[in-house]
């Protein structure tokens, strides 16, 4: 077992137990040595475990590959069992069996298990006594302090616990966590009932803590943070966003010599006065997030920035005004690499002064900023030619001029997000592809993009994500170029790009075999032909064909058979899809987790078939004419793993209350929608007009 060091831990959905048990090899035989010789001799049996481990190290993340590997022989099965380090079980009930099979798991991700009781945690604590290093309980509930304590006490190697969203977590639970002496990373986001007492227990009990997230911990005050600062001297990353901390906490934290990452987003007490009062600085600070602190102006900012000379990353989202005075704080920060000014009011001079102060920026985000002009953008990009990521989403004052100068200076861009830059014309957009050949991620949603623009973008051979939604001018011609020259494309968004037809999608499917996500919503011209083509993309995980009325069950069947990885499916308003489409999904798409069936022609039969998919967690079932309350109740009851279901509110009275309570107790939450039935599809032109009205307002 020694050779596995350095291998990246894989994460996968454990789907082995969802099928019949007897199909699996018997897990009782642990060692290849114990295999009886008189059985049919296999050449694979002779391979040593070390060699099997080396093979497993080289398997990619695809869980099916590992499954296939374990099915080769008993020795392979045993080797795979002992090789696996990361486990993401689907149900907490499966934990005992899974842990019995995988004794060497060090990372346990329970985020798919809604209900994790103390028994499950006790089982984990008993089975993974020495190996467990990390556990994720961020989406789980119904465990108590006792379960956490058993975990913290038994698993001496535990270094990472994610308890975010455990809104019911109390100080007693925090005290239990405090018994994990070796804990290094702890997330307690939104644990609103934890107070200073709990944090104090953690601070004293976990002296090796390096990362602590106390976001939204409303019960935590300066006292708790002060104790953390005193007791956890190795702390590197601290998130205190949306807490009631004041300058006293900052003073205490400035004593931490290793603190690199500090977030004080939305802390109401953070003001200029609080920041200015800091005598001693954060010498080691590299990442600072002071977003949404209304009372912090350039005065407080400059004082804290002066005290943090090594800052690399600065987030100032929702800062009120970015004016030249901000540069007074930025001047000394020659090392600053990333600055985020989302949703701020920016002046041209402010951008210019930032540009003249910071010349080594790699990332710049001006998303939803008002006041970003061509002049400002041109200046800051001309000073920072090494820019890699740029976000100018919704900067509606930028024109072709700004894009031209930006693209000519920043030729090494890999990520460009410029959704809804409405003044940029197709001519300007062509420059992007022509000049920035290294782009991997482009978001041109709601722009004046045309086929020429797509053609130029197809010059970026590393392109992995292209978002061209609401680009009414693009057509198959452009997509053909993309399909021909972007083989690494993984994400394609063509939402409401109505000019696209089957031909374009077919070309994409042919040229981009790695495609994982495609959004064809409201591309009304799509037919089953597109889906048949896409079924060749075996790694497709997300498919959105909402509002494509010409797609039928046949196309969906092709996807179900071809794309076994499919996890998210949106077939809302595909009126032609009926039970015939559900049956192949139920049969083949064993990874399906989320589905939207609204307005389809699926009946009780299809629904009942579908819920046999054991992974299914999230369902939206609105306005299905053929679904009766009884059928729906049976489906809900049959699908044990559901966590979130959207139903029409008319069903609320029709399904028996005890049943609903039972399903809710299993960890499923209902969302009751009362929208009236809407048959007519809005045409894209009408929709676009409405959208623009909204924007103008």
């Amino acid at each position: 077992m020694g050779e596995i060091g350095g291998a990246p831990f894989e994460t996968l959905v454990l789907d082995l137990f969802s099928k019949r048990r007897d199909r699996l090899p018997c897990p009782s035989l642990r060692s290849p040595k114990r295999i009886r010789v008189e059985e049919e001799p296999s050449p694979f049996e002779t391979l040593a475990e070390e060699i099997l481990f080396l093979i497993l190290d080289r398997l990619d993340a695809n869980p099916l590959d590992r499954k296939a590997f374990s099915l080769v022989s008993r020795s392979f099965h045993a080797a795979e069992s002992r090789h696996r380090r990361a486990l993401r079980p689907l149900r907490a009930e499966l934990l005992p069996a899974a842990l019995a099979r995988y004794p060497a798991v060090s990372r346990l991700d329970l985020s798919l298990c809604r209900r994790v009781g103390d028994a499950a945690l006790g089982c984990v604590a008993a089975a993974l006594r020495s190996t467990l290093r990390s556990i994720d309980l961020s989406r789980s509930r119904s465990f108590s302090p006792a379960g956490l304590e058993s975990l913290a006490v038994s698993c001496a190697a535990l270094v990472e616990i994610d308890l975010s969203n455990a809104t019911g977590l109390t100080d007693a639970a925090a005290a239990a966590i405090g018994k994990a002496r070796n804990l290094e990373r702890l997330w307690l986001a939104r644990c609103m009932r934890v107070t200073d007492m709990g944090i104090g227990c953690i601070a004293v009990g976990c002296p090796k803590l390096r990362l602590l997230c106390l976001k939204w911990c409303l019960g935590v005050t300066d006292l708790g943070v002060g104790l953390v600062a005193v007791k956890c001297r190795m702390l590197q990353s601290l998130d205190l966003s949306y807490t009631a901390i004041t300058k006293k906490s900052l003073a205490a934290l400035s004593q931490l010599h290793d603190l690199e990452d500090l977030a004080v987003v939305g802390c109401p007490s953070m003001s200029d006065e609080a920041l200015s009062s800091l005598k001693q600085g954060f010498k080691s600070l590299e990442v600072l997030d002071v977003s949404s602190c209304d009372r912090v102006s350039h005065v407080g900012l400059s004082s804290i920035l002066n005290s943090a000379p090594g800052l690399r990353q600065l987030r100032l989202a929702y800062h009120s005004f970015v004016t030249p005075s901000i540069s007074s704080g930025l001047q000394r920060l020659s090392t600053l690499q990333s600055i985020n000014l989302d949703c701020s009011h920016v002046t041209t001079n402010g951008l210019k002064s930032i540009g003249s102060c910071c010349t080594s920026l790699k990332e710049l985000s001006l998303s939803k900023c008002s006041g970003v002009t061509d002049e400002g953008l041109s200046f800051i990009t001309s000073k920072n030619k090494g820019l890699v990521k740029l976000d100018i989403t919704c900067c509606r004052e930028i024109t072709d001029v700004g894009i031209a100068t930006m693209t000519s200076s920043c030729t090494s861009l890999t990520s460009l997000r410029m959704e809804s830059c409405s003044l940029v014309t197709s001519l300007g957009l062509r420059l992007i592809g022509q000049r920035c050949h290294l782009l991997e991620e482009v978001d041109l949603t709601d722009n004046d993009l045309d086929d020429e623009g797509l053609k130029s973008i197809s010059g970026c051979h590393k392109l992995s994500s292209l978002k061209a939604g609401i680009c009414l001018k693009i057509s198959d011609e452009g997509l053909v170029h993309i399909g021909n020259s972007c083989p690494e494309l993984q994400e394609l968004d063509l939402y409401r790009s109505v000019g696209v037809t089957d031909k374009g999608v077919t070309e994409i499917a042919r040229g981009c075999p790695l495609l994982q996500m495609i959004n064809l919503a409201y591309c009304t011209e799509m037919t089953d032909e597109s889906l048949r083509a896409l079924s060749k993309c075996s790694s497709l995980k997300t498919l959105e064909i909402r509002g494509c009325p010409r797609i039928s069950s046949a196309g969906l069947s092709a996807i179900a058979v071809g794309c076994r990885q499919i996890a998210k499916l949106d077939i809302k308003k595909c009126h032609d899809i009926d039970d015939a489409g559900m049956l192949p999904l139920a049969r083949f798409s064993q990874n399906l987790r989320q589905i939207n069936l609204s307005f389809c022609s699926v009946t009780d039969v299809g629904l009942l078939a579908l819920v046999s998919v054991s992974c299914l967690q999230n369902m939206t079932i609105l306005h299905l004419k053929g679904v009766t309350p009884n059928g729906l109740a049976a489906a809900l009851l049959a699908c044990g793993g559901l966590t979130k279901v959207k139903l029409h509110s008319s069903f609320k009275s029709l399904i028996s209350k005890p049943l609903l309570q039972h399903i809710e107790a299993r960890g499923c939450s209902f969302q009751w929608i009362s929208k009236p039935f809407q048959v007519q599809l809005e045409t894209n032109e009408v929709w676009k007009q409405q959208l623009q009205d909204v924007v103008v307002r």
């Binding site: 109390t170 005290a175 107070t195 200073d196 007492m197 709990g198 104090g200 009990g205 006292l223 708790g224």
Partner: protein
């Protein structure tokens, strides 16, 4: 006529010679006598602007200057002065007689000599009487240096300086070295009163001095002296060396008296004069005028703030002025609280813990606010009344952890029952004690009363509110939550019922401030 005159003068001179003895009695000194300067200044204009009268003027004026001294007996002084007035009238009569005789019979030398002798004797008597009257002020002079300058200055200038010199300049030089020599001066007066012959000489000197320094020139001198005393006060006002302040001592009965202000009409007692003034309104419209309702001015404006400290009447107490290391008390309230805390029974017992006893009810209130609930617990077993203290402790010591109070809600469910069953006797006892102190208190209500008359009903009310209405109980009963936000819940619980504890709270604060 002469005989009669002589007889009366002798007869009246006898008590005058006795008077100084009275006023030097040290027993009277500490308490002091309050003499208003008005009585003197009113007495002065009645004197005739005679040549001989000027003898008295330096001394008289010096006394008017020494107004800071408040606490001598004004009645004694007044009787002395009226006696002096009579005496001076007698002398005046004799002198007028001599003048009229001069015109009628020129050669009656024997009679004239006898009359002169009589005048001399009377004047000597007057001088001695004046000096002794001034001498009553001496003990308080000893205690407060501030007031010594004018007092010592005048006589020393009168007795010790060359009569031919202008006293204006002389006074400064003489006064400063003599500042602290109150006792010497006392001896001087004693010797004066003892020997009549010396006093003759002195009298003459005084006469000369009186003639040399005219009444007009004296006024600026007095001003100067006042200024000097002010400076001295400012210089050593902060340190308060022993003797730099005046010491008052209230008697035990005064300290424990529930009321200090009484209605002159119905006799009802009050703790504060403001309340008395409010009460007086009910006795008629004349008490409703703004002048009657206004806060009485603190004496004349010219009166400089005298540092005053208090002594505890309990013998042997460090706060008693006889103690070697006497530490004075600052205010009357301090005296009251000190006396109750140190020398009285602790009759108020905490109804929560049943162990803590207090003699000042405000202390009980303060304690009750924290008793039993805000127990911030450390893993070492130490408890703290405040969270920040606990965190300071945990931060200081390695391995200590904040400990969660597991059984807190259960405890809190129990406590109201305990209170009701065990502590009602205590409460009633406390109520009796309070009622004994102030009979009209229940009708009076706490908002205007001082700390020690909070009704026993109030205490009960607080307990009840905690027992039955606090969210703590809802927590423990309805949800079975053991340790969720016990403290915030409590703080919140305090607010709806704040009308009860807040009164006591504000009182304790007021106590602390004063």
């Amino acid at each position: 006529m002469d005989h009669k005159l002589k007889g009366t003068s002798e007869a009246s001179s006898k008590p005058s010679s006795l008077m100084p003895g009275n006023h030097f009695n040290p027993a009277n000194l500490a308490y002091g006598f309050a003499q208003s300067p008005k009585t003197q200044s009113q007495a002065l204009p009645s004197y005739h602007p005679d040549n001989k009268m000027k003898i008295t003027n330096p001394l008289e004026s010096s006394q008017t200057v020494s107004t800071p001294i408040l606490d001598w007996d004004p009645r004694g002084m007044l009787s002395n002065l009226s006696f002096l007035e009579q005496k001076i009238h007698q002398v005046q009569d004799i002198v007028r007689q001599i003048i009229s005789q001069e015109g009628q019979f020129s050669n009656r030398a024997g009679e004239l000599a006898a009359q002169q002798q009589l005048v001399t004797a009377d004047l000597t008597c007057i001088i001695i009487q004046l000096i002794s009257t001034a001498g009553t002020l001496l003990p308080s002079i000893k205690n407060s240096l501030l007031s010594t300058n004018p007092m010592l200055g005048a006589p020393t200038a009168a007795f010790g300086s060359n009569p031919n010199l202008n006293t204006n300049q002389q006074r400064n030089e003489v006064v400063t070295p003599e500042m602290n020599k109150g006792s010497e001066y006392e001896e001087l007066i004693k010797s004066l009163s003892a020997s009549g012959e010396d006093s003759d000489e002195l009298m003459l000197k005084c006469l000369d001095a009186g003639r040399a320094g005219g009444a007009d020139e004296r006024i600026p001198i007095d001003d100067h002296d006042l200024k000097e005393s002010d400076d001295g006060g400012a210089a050593d006002g902060e340190n308060l060396p022993p003797g730099s302040y005046e010491v008052l001592q209230l008697e035990k009965e005064e300290i424990l008296a529930p009321h200090t202000h009484f209605c002159s009409i119905c006799g009802k007692g009050f703790k504060r004069d403001a309340n008395l003034r409010m009460h007086m309104r009910g006795h008629g419209d004349e008490y409703k005028t703004p002048a009657a309702l206004a806060k009485p001015a603190r004496g004349p404006a010219s009166e400089p703030a005298l540092v005053r400290r208090y002594s505890c009447p309990f013998a042997g107490c460090k706060r008693n002025k006889e103690h070697k290391k006497f530490q004075p008390l600052k205010t009357i309230l301090c005296v009251k609280n000190h006396y109750k805390r140190s020398h009285c029974d602790k009759s108020y017992i905490c109804s929560r813990c049943n162990t803590k006893k207090f003699s000042v009810i405000a202390d009980l209130k303060t304690h009750e606010k924290h008793c039993g609930r805000d127990k911030w617990l450390c893993s070492c077993g130490t408890t703290f009344s405040r969270k920040d203290k606990l965190f300071g402790h945990v931060a200081l010591f390695q391995g200590h952890t904040p400990a969660l109070p597991v059984d807190l809600p259960i405890d809190d469910v129990k406590t109201p029952n305990n209170n009701n069953s065990n502590n009602t006797p205590e409460l009633s006892r406390g109520g009796e004690a309070v009622n004994g102190l102030g009979g009209n208190m229940s009708s009076y209500g706490f908002p205007s009363s001082t700390s020690d008359d909070i009704n026993s009903i109030d205490i009960k009310g607080v307990d009840d509110s905690r027992g039955y209405f606090s969210p703590m109980n809802f927590d423990s009963c309805n949800f079975g939550v053991l340790d969720d936000f016990p403290r915030p819940a409590f703080d919140v619980a305090e607010n709806p019922f704040s009308f009860l504890p807040s009164g006591s709270c504000s009182f304790t604060q007021r106590n602390g401030e004063s």
